[in-house]
C-alpha cells in the first residue's frame, strides 16, 4: 500500500479535480457523442429519440450554413489571432524600452481585457451604426464610403467583428509578450551589439527566437478562445448580413438552444471540438519541435 502511494506520488491530489472533470466535462462530452447519433428534438411533443447513425454528421457536411459557419470560424481565427500577434508584438516592443509614460500606457491597456464582452459587443454595435455611430461618422469624415456601415456590408462585417476581438484581446497578447521581453537578459543583446548587429537584427535574431515559447502559448490561448466566439455575434449581427458573420458556436447555439434540435447540435459541436483539436495539435507540434531543437 505504502509503495503504491509512493509510486502514485502526488497524483491523488489531482483526484478531486479529475473526478469533477469526469462528471461535469467528460460525461457531458460522452453524452453529447451519444445523442449525436439520434434524431432528438425536444420541441417534438413526444421527445422521442430515434437512432439515425451518422445522419446528423452527414447532414452537417451537406448543410450550407454549417459549411459557411465552419469557414467563417477558421477565417475569424486566422485574422483575429494574426492581427493580435503582430499588433501585440509591436506594442510590446514599443513599451519594452522605459520611456516616460510607458508605465501609464501599460496600465491603461489592461482595461479592455477585464471588460465584460457582452458590454463590449453592445458598445461596438452602437459605434458601428451606419447612421448615428461614432466610428461610421468619423470614417465618413475621412471621406470613406461606409455604405451600410461596417457590420452592415457583407464584405466587411466579419472583419468589423474581428476588430472588436482585436480591441479586447490584443492587450493580452501585448502584455504577455512584454513580460517575455522583460525576462530576457540584457547580456545577450550586448553581445549581439558587440558583434555589430543593428536593432532590427537584434530583435529578429535574438529577441524573437527567445520569445517563441510565449508567443506560441499566446497563440494557443487566443485560438481556443476565438473559436468560442459567441457574445459579439449574438449581440451585434445575429450572424448577418446573410451568412457573413455566422460562426460555428453561434449556429450550434441556435440549433441546440433555440430550436432544441439536440442531436444535430451535438453532432456539430463534436465537429467543432475536432476542429479546435486539430489546431491545438498543430501548436503542440510546434512546441514539441521547439523542445527537440533546444
Amino acid at each position: 500500500m505504502a509503495r503504491l502511494i509512493r509510486r502514485l506520488g502526488l497524483l491523488p491530489w489531482a483526484a478531486p479535480a479529475l473526478l469533477f472533470m469526469l462528471f461535469f466535462a467528460l460525461y457531458p462530452i460522452a453524452y453529447s457523442v451519444h445523442i449525436s447519433f439520434f434524431r432528438y428534438n425536444l420541441t417534438d411533443p413526444t421527445q422521442a429519440k430515434v437512432f439515425v447513425g451518422l445522419a446528423n454528421y452527414l447532414q452537417a457536411f451537406s448543410d450550407h450554413t454549417f459549411r459557411v459557419a465552419a469557414l467563417n470560424s477558421v477565417l475569424f481565427v486566422v485574422l483575429a489571432v494574426g492581427i493580435q500577434t503582430v499588433l501585440g508584438l509591436a506594442i510590446a516592443v514599443m513599451l519594452n524600452r522605459d520611456r516616460p509614460g510607458t508605465a501609464l500606457i501599460r496600465t491603461m491597456l489592461l482595461a479592455p481585457l477585464t471588460l465584460t464582452p457582452i458590454v463590449v459587443a453592445l458598445v461596438w454595435r452602437a459605434l458601428y451604426n451606419a447612421d448615428y455611430g461614432v466610428v461610421s461618422y468619423y470614417l465618413k469624415q475621412l471621406g470613406l464610403n461606409v455604405g451600410r456601415g461596417p457590420v452592415g456590408e457583407p464584405s466587411t462585417a466579419l472583419f468589423a467583428l474581428v476588430v472588436v476581438d482585436v480591441w479586447q484581446w490584443t492587450p493580452l497578447v501585448a502584455l504577455m509578450l512584454l513580460a517575455g521581453l522583460r525576462s530576457q537578459s540584457a547580456d545577450l543583446f550586448e553581445a549581439a551589439q558587440m558583434d555589430g548587429a543593428s536593432g532590427w537584427q537584434q530583435f529578429w535574431h535574438v529577441a524573437l527566437p527567445l520569445l517563441r515559447p510565449i508567443l506560441i502559448v499566446a497563440l494557443l490561448i487566443r485560438t481556443m478562445d476565438v473559436f468560442k466566439l459567441f457574445d459579439s455575434v449574438f449581440a451585434v449581427t445575429g450572424g448577418g448580413p446573410g451568412y457573413s458573420t455566422e460562426v460555428m458556436n453561434h449556429y450550434i447555439f441556435k440549433t441546440g438552444l433555440t430550436f432544441f434540435d439536440m442531436g444535430y447540435a451535438a453532432a456539430m459541436s463534436n465537429l467543432l471540438l475536432v476542429l479546435i483539436g486539430l489546431f491545438t495539435a498543430a501548436y503542440f507540434r510546434a512546441i514539441g519541435q521547439l523542445g527537440t531543437a533546444r
Binding site: Y31, M94, L115, M176
Partner: protein, 277 residues
C-alpha cells in the same frame, strides 16, 4: 550626434504610434462612460456630441427598472462560488502536476488542456439535459459547476506554473523534518504561493463575472446575473443606448476596479505557465 537625433526621431514615432493605439483602445471606454451620463436625445446626435451637461437620469432609470442590486448579488455569488470551487479543485491539482514528474501527470495536464479548449456550447447542451434530470436548472449551483469546469483547468495550469517556479528544496527540508506531504504543502508551499493564488482568483472571478452564455441558459428568475440584465434595458421599441451604457458601467466597474487594484497580480497571471513551459 546623428545617432542621438535618430533616437529622438524614433521616440517621436513611437509616441505617435502609441497615442494612436491608445486612442483606439480607449475610444469605446470613453464612449461608454460619456453616453451613460448623456440625455437620451443627445446619445445619437450627428455630428457626435462628446461632452454635454452630465446627468444621472440614466442611472436612476436603470435602478428603477432593472433589479440591479439583486443581479449584482447574483453575479457576485456565482463569481465567488466559481472562484472558491475552482481554486479548491485546481490548486492541489496544480501542485500535484508541478511536483510529479511521471507520464501520468503529463497526461493529466494534457487532459486539462483538452477540456479547456472545449467550446462552452458543446458542454452546455448535454450539461443542460443533465441539470434538468437532477432538477438543478435555475440554481446558482448549475452555473457555478459548469463555469468551474473551464476555470479549474485554467487554475490547474496556472498554479502548476507557479509551483514550478518555487524551489522544491524548502518542502523537502520540511519533509525530512517529519512533516507529511500535506503539512509541507500547507506550511511551506501555500504561504509562498499567495501571489499566485491571488492571480488565479482574480482571473477566475473576472471570467465568471463576465460570462453571458452560461447564465443565459442555466440561471433562473432568482439567479439572473448582471450580464443578462443589460439586455433588459434594450426594449424592442426603445433602444436605450444611454440606459444600456449606465448598466454597462455598473457591470464593468467592479472587475475594472479589481483589475487595477490587483494590477501586478493580473499582469503576472498573463505570463504564468507561459514563461515556464
Amino acid at each position: 550626434m546623428t545617432a542621438k537625433r535618430r533616437q529622438r526621431a524614433a521616440d517621436a514615432v513611437t509616441y505617435l504610434l502609441l497615442a494612436l493605439i491608445l486612442g483606439f483602445f480607449l475610444l469605446p471606454l470613453v464612449w461608454l462612460a460619456l453616453t451613460s451620463i448623456k440625455p437620451a436625445r443627445e446619445a445619437f446626435s450627428i455630428p457626435p456630441v462628446w461632452i454635454s451637461k452630465p446627468i444621472l437620469d440614466n442611472y436612476r432609470h436603470v435602478l428603477d427598472n432593472v433589479p440591479v442590486i439583486a443581479y449584482l448579488k447574483n453575479s457576485l455569488t456565482i463569481a465567488a462560488g466559481t472562484t472558491l470551487l475552482s481554486l479548491a479543485l485546481g490548486v492541489p491539482a496544480g501542485y500535484c502536476l508541478a511536483r510529479t514528474l511521471s507520464r501520468a501527470a503529463g497526461n493529466v495536464a494534457l487532459l486539462m488542456l483538452a477540456i479547456r479548449m472545449a467550446p462552452p456550447v458543446a458542454l452546455l447542451i448535454p450539461f443542460y439535459l443533465v441539470m434538468r434530470e437532477v432538477g438543478l436548472l435555475g440554481t446558482y449551483l448549475a452555473v457555478i459547476l459548469l463555469q468551474s469546469v473551464f476555470n479549474t483547468t485554467f487554475v490547474t495550469w496556472m498554479m502548476r506554473g507557479y509551483f514550478l517556479s518555487l524551489p522544491a528544496d524548502l518542502e523537502l527540508a520540511a519533509l525530512t523534518d517529519g512533516c507529511t506531504r500535506f503539512g509541507a504543502f500547507c506550511r511551506v508551499a501555500l504561504p509562498l504561493s499567495v501571489p499566485g493564488l491571488a492571480t488565479a482568483a482574480i482571473f477566475t472571478f473576472t471570467m465568471s463575472w463576465n460570462d453571458f452564455l452560461l447564465p443565459l441558459l442555466l440561471t433562473g428568475r432568482t439567479t439572473r446575473t448582471l450580464t443578462l440584465g443589460i439586455l433588459e434595458t434594450m426594449s424592442t421599441y426603445e433602444i436605450g443606448w444611454n440606459n444600456m451604457a449606465a448598466i454597462g458601467v455598473i457591470t464593468v466597474l467592479p472587475v475594472l476596479v479589481l483589475g487595477y487594484l490587483l494590477q501586478p497580480y493580473y499582469i503576472r497571471g498573463l505570463t504564468l505557465g507561459a514563461v515556464r513551459e
